[in-house]
Symmetry: C2
């Protein structure tokens, strides 16, 4: 201490130099600089700053309600009943909603969604999830003990990656992820210090997955790490492809042969639009391939309340199912999730409604089906619209949006634009997207945030804005692209 008793001036305990180095390596483009600037611009607009547009259109994130989609009435009715059970006496609510609410409340401590639940999730919800999977997969059994409810699919994915991360140097766990990828994967791997192994999807073949590319990527990775995990997103984000049954079989065969743990991110399982495309769960295909595979391959699959027709992102509901997981490891998983006590109970309850929706004959059935169909057919229409309009623009080429909620078109950028971006230290597609935002208010995510083949440029755009807004947006984008190309030619 100095004479007057003041403490000597010392630096901070926690600085970027002394913080967790893995956290520093994390990157998360979906909420990166473009989005931060978009939020700023929104504030400026509110404060009356003049711009060449009146509002920011956020097509950067798969957030259906934020883009105006209405919640499914039945789901919200049951959730309101669970939240404030006095409403159970209200005759404005249908009987099936009340029954669902009573059942959920009965399985909560003190009949309250304010109690902690078992860390793995509410018993009856896990049973309902297992029944749903069994129905979905044509009767292939699902064991509630293999179901873990999660805080959104994000939480489940990170948890399984965490279990799998071990070793040091050349024995460090390597995890194969598709490029382009959903950046949760690269971010989590960076945080965990696991090795990211890239395999490229085939843009020329509608973003499909080639086994030869898996093989190439695995071979290369074996030189420097211990590849143990293969992650698949189907339907794909950001690329919107839907995998064929054949492809899934090939992937399973590959994973079995190469002794890889398979992680199947199936949060878009209801989001399939293109003709001839169908969702096949990895689990179903695995079991249809016979006991040689189904008794052996270790698989974790993930689902969420955030996507599909419900789009309830804010509730952070989700589940994972593990297949063929070593029982001792499962005990470790159960212990690990118990540290955070339990997933949010409203999210658990909502997940229950998704897997146990109104049935024919129940009072809410008609409305439910009407609402669900409306959402899914609007999405199908917008998927088509997006592809069509984008492909009319010279310098933009867009694969069919077969599923999920995104288009990932390739853009041709003039040499001068690329150089100007590089001079600024920016990825060229970031430069493009930033300009687009400033000039039109359209908020997209540059392809570089998801990964892409060297020298190619893309952006990701959700198909979620309401049809009329989407059309306006696509046309503004077309205009911008033409102007941009001219300006830099």
């Amino acid at each position: 201490m100095s004479e007057n008793g003041a403490l000597p001036l010392r630096g901070k305990v926690l600085t970027v130099d002394t913080m967790n180095p893995n956290v520093k390596k994390v990157d998360y483009a979906v909420r990166g600089p473009i989005v931060q600037r978009a939020v700023q611009i929104e504030k400026e607009l509110k404060e009356g700053v003049k711009k060449p547009f009146e509002e920011v259109i956020k097509a950067n994130i798969g957030d259906a309600h934020a883009m105006g989609q209405r919640p499914i009435t039945f789901f919200r009715q049951v959730m309101a009943l669970c939240t404030y059970p006095q409403l159970l006496d209200d005759n404005k609510f249908p009987e099936d909603a009340k029954n669902r609410a009573r059942r959920i409340l009965q399985s909560c401590g003190g009949n309250s969604i304010g109690a902690y639940t078992s860390s793995q999730g509410i018993d009856c919800v896990r049973h309902d999830v297992a029944n749903y999977i069994q129905r979905r997969d044509g009767g292939i059994p699902s064991d509630p003990d293999n179901i873990y409810l999660t805080t959104g699919a994000s939480d489940g994915i990170v948890t399984i990656l965490k279990l799998l991360t071990a070793g040091e140097g050349r024995t460090r766990t390597g995890v194969m992820i598709s490029i382009p990828q959903y950046p949760l994967y690269s971010a989590s791997l960076a945080e965990l210090g696991a090795v990211q192994i890239n395999y490229y999807l085939n843009e020329e073949k509608c973003w499909s997955l080639d086994i030869s590319e898996l093989q190439r990527s695995l071979q290369a990775a074996r030189e420097h790490c211990n590849p143990r995990v293969l992650c698949i997103i189907n339907p794909g984000n950001p690329t919107g492809q839907v995998q064929s049954r054949q492809c899934i079989e090939d992937v399973i065969r590959f994973a079995a042969k190469e002794n890889l743990f398979l992680m199947a991110d199936e949060v878009y399982q209801d989001n399939v639009y293109a003709e001839g495309c169908e969702f096949h769960s990895f689990k179903k295909v695995l079991f249809e391939m016979g006991p040689e595979y189904s008794s052996k391959l270790e698989l974790a699959s993930f689902h969420s309340t955030s996507k599909c027709y419900m789009g309830e992102c804010g509730f952070r509901g989700g589940y994972l199912e593990v297949i063929n997981m070593d029982p001792e490891v499962k005990a470790q998983l159960t212990k690990l999730v118990s540290v955070r006590l339990c997933p949010p109970v409203p999210g658990q309850a909502l997940m229950d409604l998704v897997v146990n929706s109104p049935q024919p004959g129940e009072p809410s059935y008609q409305t439910f089906i009407k609402e669900r169909t409306a959402v899914l057919s609007a999405l199908a229409e917008k998927a088509k619209l997006t592809e069509e309009i984008l492909n009319t623009v010279p310098g933009i080429s867009c694969n069919p949006v077969q599923g999920a909620m995104y288009s990932f078109p390739r853009i041709t950028l003039p040499e001068r634009a690329i150089n100007e971006a590089k001079a600024k230290g920016q990825a060229p597609d970031m430069f493009y997207c930033m300009k687009l935002l400033e000039e039109t208010g359209i908020c997209l995510v540059p392809g570089s945030g998801f990964g892409q083949r060297e020298g190619t440029y893309h952006f990701r755009m959700t198909i979620l804005p309401p049809t009329d807004k989407l059309k306006i947006m696509l046309n503004k984008l077309k205009e911008f692209h033409q102007k941009f190309t001219q300006q830099y030619s």
Copy 2:
């Protein structure tokens, strides 16, 4: 492959030998073997198995609603309105509840709690939290930019520990935690691979904190790691003590002198019962000590919707406030939390209600105050009752439960019991608690799950059961302890 095309039998990809070694080291007693056995026993009772008791009393976890506490009406009304906004037209709901709901909905994307929010949490909620802190701390300013909403306090605590973990070997981050501790801390440190540094609370002086013990523990730790963090739980879990203002000042002075980042777990800030005790936030004391400290010391403090008078554990709401955090590190924190998108929105909304509860003159004010007072005075009564009855038992000695929700009495175990436990490979207090569970249905957590001085034994019991049940439980416990002592003497 073998001749008939079958795959060679290979081991699992993921086994306890090849999994994340840090996860293996994690221990979480609050949901450990005792609780697992309790769940089993409940099932057996349901199936009609005869037991010397009719129900399991879970006094193992601070889960108020599960023990029969009713939710605060106003909170649930607003939550129901947010969930199903059609109810805004219903005249059964008071105007102040509707106003709160409208305000929350207006700050959600698409006016839906089903939209993702900003990763740091809803803007207006963070403003309300800052205002609450400012009021609580007698006007000391709080900046909404320093507030992060979290998935329960657990999430916030793990996130800050994660930021702070760095270095290898002797430079590895060391984190000082009290013994006994809330096992989230030891579990998270194990998972992160940080070094746990124990300092012991002084049981003889009502579980108070001695600076000389902090000094001893720090000195010892400096031999083998890089101590950078000091964690304090006030009011204490599992020990129920409330720190004096003087003690907090001393701790702050110590942390400043030793260049430690301070983490203040203040989730029990409304749970103070004993006469002469009062809650002082670390932040308030820090700022009252003058700029010499308040301009320098790095502090993170944590709050939750799970405890206090609301006990809304299932919603997983919480916040953290950072003080004097390096701006670059704050940017890293913001990036890190964005990977999981956002905390559950119902939990965020509930946190808002806690910090922005009904005001005098508003229609819900009277009921709210009545409900809150009822909960807190019942807890105060039960805190006293617990201490009194336990101290009538020879071989049990219990400090006053000044705050939080737990008693942590010391138990004297006969030598023969200790030996029998050790022969079974069990901690002696685990042996005791397991027997108690089997014979009486009372579910407690052994002291060994929280840490205790070598050769001493304790259990943790919540004071949450309704008063009449608590009395029955305490008397059963008394009887058991006497029988147990006799049996093993």
